[in-house]
């Protein structure tokens, strides 16, 4: 795990939280650097929202510590943690105007920058592109506008950390893409440490400085979006983030950075360059994966002959599903395919994600 040392503003250290008999978060450790856009991503029930709530102070960990700027915040109530929270359902106070909503946190804190409350509200509404809506009723706004008001409200008192809990889930796809760009711009403009929770891996890759992939209450991998995509460290990450072709086989030979693996009746060569796990030796069960866009028709050191089963035209590319010795493979291509094809990949395009002796 990458730690940014003294710069880290937020740390979770071995945090566990259970509900009844169910474990939501187990021995979870994270470290977030100042000004970082840090995303927690995973399927529902992976513990990402619980993690956010532990940071906000809505929940207390049963063991482990949460530290803000190096200080243990156990027992510190949410109102004293100086965090801004944005929920999926906006949670706007419907009995207040937009302006009153944004100004709410200023009841308890002086607006940063020595401006008046009114100026601060105007400033924030301008930041989220909603200037002049102070007097409006939240119910008169669209979903995207409401969520921007919620963001402005969370930012108004100048929090140390901004916490976003699936803020886009209630919006439609186009709007989601626009708003996530806007959120990222605001985050960079204010240089504010941001924890973003989402189940959408594409969204996580698009906006984050770093991504933590969570599964069943534990961290699978923390890395930059590019590393998460290209260098998954576990089978779960490989399958959860983007499409992937996963192969299981037995190691036949190891030659420096390259292993020869028997998969079904084929022998495939894969690179071990990025593998950070236990040393690979002959006889191990090895799991590796190859991205669909790295499977090429008619080229590559490893050659597989497979039959086309379906083909989906997606606009910029076509996703072709193949049947290779009973295993489904996915392929991204620009040309139309049919019948039997030969596809291949180079050893360096394969990522080892699991090795069992």
């Amino acid at each position: 795990m990458i730690t940014v040392g003294s710069e880290s503003v937020l740390e979770l250290d071995g945090v566990t939280r259970r509900y009844g008999g169910m474990t939501a978060v187990e021995e979870l450790s994270l470290s977030v650097a100042d000004g970082e856009f840090f995303t927690l991503v995973g399927p529902s029930g992976c513990g990402k929202t619980t993690t956010l709530r532990l940071i906000a102070g809505f929940e207390e960990p049963m063991s482990g510590t949460v530290r803000f700027g190096g200080t243990d915040v156990a027992g510190v109530p949410p109102e004293d943690r100086n965090v801004g929270v944005v929920f999926q359902n906006y949670a706007l106070f419907s009995h207040m105007t937009v302006g009153e909503n944004v100004a709410y946190g200023l009841n308890f804190a002086e607006p940063p920058g020595g401006v008046s409350d009114e100026e601060r509200v105007a400033e924030l509404l301008e930041l989220v592109d909603l200037s002049g809506t102070q007097g409006r009723d939240p119910s008169s706004l669209s979903g995207g506008q409401r969520q921007r008001v919620a963001i402005a409200r969370a930012l108004a008192p100048g929090p140390d950390v901004l916490l976003l809990d699936e803020p886009m889930s209630a919006l439609d796809a186009k709007l989601r893409e626009r708003l996530r760009v806007q959120v990222r711009e605001i985050q960079q403009e204010l240089d504010i440490t941001t924890i973003y929770v989402t189940h959408d891996q594409e969204e996580a890759l698009a906006v984050s400085d770093r991504v933590a992939v969570l599964n069943e209450g534990t961290v699978e991998q923390v890395a930059t979006p590019r590393d998460i995509y290209h260098r998954p460290q576990s089978r779960f990450v490989a399958e959860f983030v983007g499409d992937n072709n996963v192969f299981d086989g037995e190691v036949q030979a190891v030659d420096g950075d390259t292993a020869t693996v028997a998969v079904s009746e084929e022998t495939l060569r894969v690179s071990l360059g990025d593998w950070r796990g236990s040393p690979v030796s002959v006889g191990d069960r090895l799991t590796f994966c190859v991205r669909p866009e790295e499977l090429a028709v008619g080229s590559g050191a490893n050659r597989l002959t497979a039959g086309v089963t379906s083909s989906e035209f997606l606009g910029e590319t076509t996703r072709v599903r193949l049947d290779w010795l009973g295993q489904e493979l996915m392929l991204r291509t620009r040309e139309a395919l049919g019948g039997d094809v030969t596809v291949g990949f180079d050893p360096k395009d394969a990522r080892v994600v699991e090795c069992r002796t």
Partner: protein
């Protein structure tokens, strides 16, 4: 249900007809199919029209005759009776002098001097205000407990808050006599610790407490619903922005529950303003409210004055309701309620003051609540089997004796039970289909939906006295239409009054459930070829069946416990029901009244269970 309807159609055909259909070349079958289609297509509008007709005949027409009674005196149109009522200090106290044209300064002076008269209307408003305060004070803590704490039996307690609605008020009055009366359990308990006796009956205190018994659960119900729909995210947002728990409550929770508390208070005020059996039984004529006095005027055959007073009362009630509805519309809070707040355990997780203090309050409240809500019923059961020498069945024996040897003019228990059950069943047969049809009509989108809703729900706002009086004057005494004289028998009028009083509750229970159904369900059924009526029978009703059963139980229980309109209509006839019988007993001897109250409780409970059991079979068709 749709299948059973189709089945009964074939079943009722003679075997010959069935053969004829199967022998025919299909043309006949097609005609029959078309016929059925036409019937199905028209059945909803037809049922709607029938419902409207029933409403007009047994509600709007009779109520308007009351109005006519008040303004047509000896064949002439006059507002004299109204004027007399408004300017009579007996009714309006010092306010009457204002209506009569006295200078406001003089009136203000009289009020300041401290010996202002309230008049009957003033007293009615005064006791209603006190009852409202008591109901809110007792109801809101219950809502807090139900909405914010988790404990075994929570859902049961929540369901029980509906119970006072259907508890016959006269039975509750008997329970109050058995608890707070001179020989009641309260005095017995006080005597044990060497205190008392206290004489609480008849008194304003008893009336206010009895009203709280009825209305505090109503306030609690409405407030709990609002409290439960408070979005935890909104509270958490406030906390994260710097608000303390108390401040977050004030800024986020309170604005959402306050309108509901106000709504509960407004409804309580309207209900207790129009109170009748409680005051009649616990206050007597010394502490008469408007309704009690109207009843007295009618009994003295002074219809014009009674009608005028009834309309004044109706005007005040409607003005209150309207004012409230306007306020509610303006204040409508959109509750997203995606994630409800988590309930706290009743057992404190730690022994800190912050955790203990609210729980101590809750415990203290629970004691008060048990005394108030459980004691009257328990005391009634106890009093029905106890006498000066301890356990006795003497009161029940009295009922049996009265049944076998009672004189014709005396109230006998047998006919009372029989009448109650018959009227209840008949009222249910009218109220249930009407309620379902009105529910359908008020949950569809079309022009005039609000009007239909208002017209259909108006009976909720009109007191039983007015309906009873209208039915008596309009239908029982007879109407002349040309050479025809239409007169309806007393029992039919009582059934009509009960049905009109009961069906709005069917609507109130069924309509929200229908409304919550995904409209795509009906659309799917219709796309598959079902008519609107078939879709209702095959898809919607089965899905809301529990609500329909609950509505039926409600309508029946309301009929069995109905007192006001029955008292007007059964006066001097043999059509008395159990509540009427209890009222006749309670004035003379408490023992038989409590025994009769227990009989009423048993009949009500058994029919509740029976309806529930019969309704339960529906799911298995």
């Amino acid at each position: 249900m749709g299948m059973s309807v189709a089945g009964s159609k074939t079943g009722s055909d003679s075997s010959q007809a069935t053969e004829a259909v199967s022998d025919s070349d299909g043309a006949d079958g097609r005609t029959r199919g078309r016929l059925r289609e036409v019937i199905e297509r028209r059945s909803l509008p037809a049922l709607a029209a029938a419902s409207v007709a029933v409403l007009v005949v047994v509600f709007y027409y009779p109520v308007s005759t009351v109005f006519v009674d008040a303004v047509f005196i000896e064949g002439r149109l006059t507002l004299r009776v109204f004027g007399d009522t408004l300017t009579d200090p007996f009714y309006f106290g010092e306010l009457a002098r204002l209506f009569a044209g006295d200078s406001p300064l003089a009136v203000a002076e009289a009020i300041r001097s401290g010996n202002a008269r309230l008049g009957i209307v003033g007293f009615t408003a005064y006791q209603a205000a006190l009852s409202t305060v008591a109901s809110v004070l007792l109801g809101v803590p219950l809502a807090y407990l139900l909405a914010r704490y988790e404990f075994p039996g929570r859902t049961t307690v929540r369901s029980l808050t509906i119970l006072p609605f259907v508890l016959p008020s006269i039975m509750v009055a008997v329970g109050f006599y058995a608890t707070f009366g001179a020989d009641g359990t309260l005095n017995a308990a006080l005597a044990l610790v060497g205190l008392g006796p206290v004489d609480l009956l008849p008194s304003l205190t008893a009336i206010v407490v009895a009203h709280a018994f009825y209305n505090a659960p109503l306030v609690a119900r409405i407030t709990t619903a609002a409290w439960e729909s408070v979005d935890a995210s909104a509270v958490e947002t406030a906390r994260s922005l710097g608000a303390s728990p108390l401040r977050a409550f004030r800024d986020v929770v309170w604005p959402q529950i306050a309108p509901s508390i106000l709504m509960g208070a407004a409804l309580t005020f309207v209900f207790t303003f129009g109170t009748f059996p409680i005051v009649l039984a616990l206050g007597g004529f010394e502490l008469a409210t408007v309704e009690v006095f109207i009843y007295r005027l009618i009994r003295d055959l002074n219809y014009a004055e009674g009608a005028a007073l009834a309309l004044v009362e109706l005007a005040i009630s409607l003005a209150l309701l309207y004012g409230y509805l306007r306020y509610e519309a303006a204040k409508a809070v959109e509750s997203s309620g995606l994630r409800p707040q988590e309930r706290r355990p009743l057992r404190p997780p730690s022994l800190s003051v912050r955790e203990l203090l609210p729980r101590v309050g809750v415990a203290a409240y629970a004691v008060v609540a048990v005394v108030l809500f459980v004691a009257p019923i328990a005391s009634m059961l106890y009093a029905s089997v106890s006498g000066p020498t301890g356990f006795t069945l003497e009161h029940y024996r009295f009922l049996v004796e009265r049944q076998t040897t009672g004189a014709a003019f005396q109230v006998r228990p047998g006919p009372a039970v029989r009448n109650s059950v018959l009227f209840g069943a008949a009222a249910l047969a009218v109220a249930l289909p009407m309620g379902v049809v009105v529910s359908v009509l008020t949950t569809r989108d079309y022009r005039g939906r609000t009007l239909v809703g208002t017209v259909a729900m108006a009976p909720l706002a009109v007191s039983g006295i007015i309906v009873g009086l209208g039915l008596l004057r309009g239908l029982v005494f007879g109407v002349e239409i040309g050479d025809w004289r239409l007169a309806v028998g007393g029992p039919l009028a009582i059934i009509a009054a009960h049905a009109v009083a009961g069906y709005p509750f069917v609507v109130r229970i069924v309509a929200p459930e229908l409304d919550a159904l995904d409209s795509q369900l009906t659309e799917s059924a219709r796309a598959l070829g079902a008519s609107r009526a078939r879709a209702l029978l095959d898809v919607e009703l089965p899905l809301v069946w529990p609500a329909v059963v609950a509505g039926a139980a409600f309508a029946f229980a309301l009929s069995v416990g109905e007192f006001t309109a029955t008292a007007v209509l059964a006066s001097g006839t043999g059509q008395y029901t159990m509540p009427i019988a209890i009222e006749r007993f309670v004035g003379r001897r408490l023992g038989p009244a409590t025994a009769m109250g227990v009989v009423l409780l048993i009949v009500t409970s058994v029919s509740f269970l029976l309806i529930d059991r019969l309704g339960g079979d529906y799911g298995g068709f």
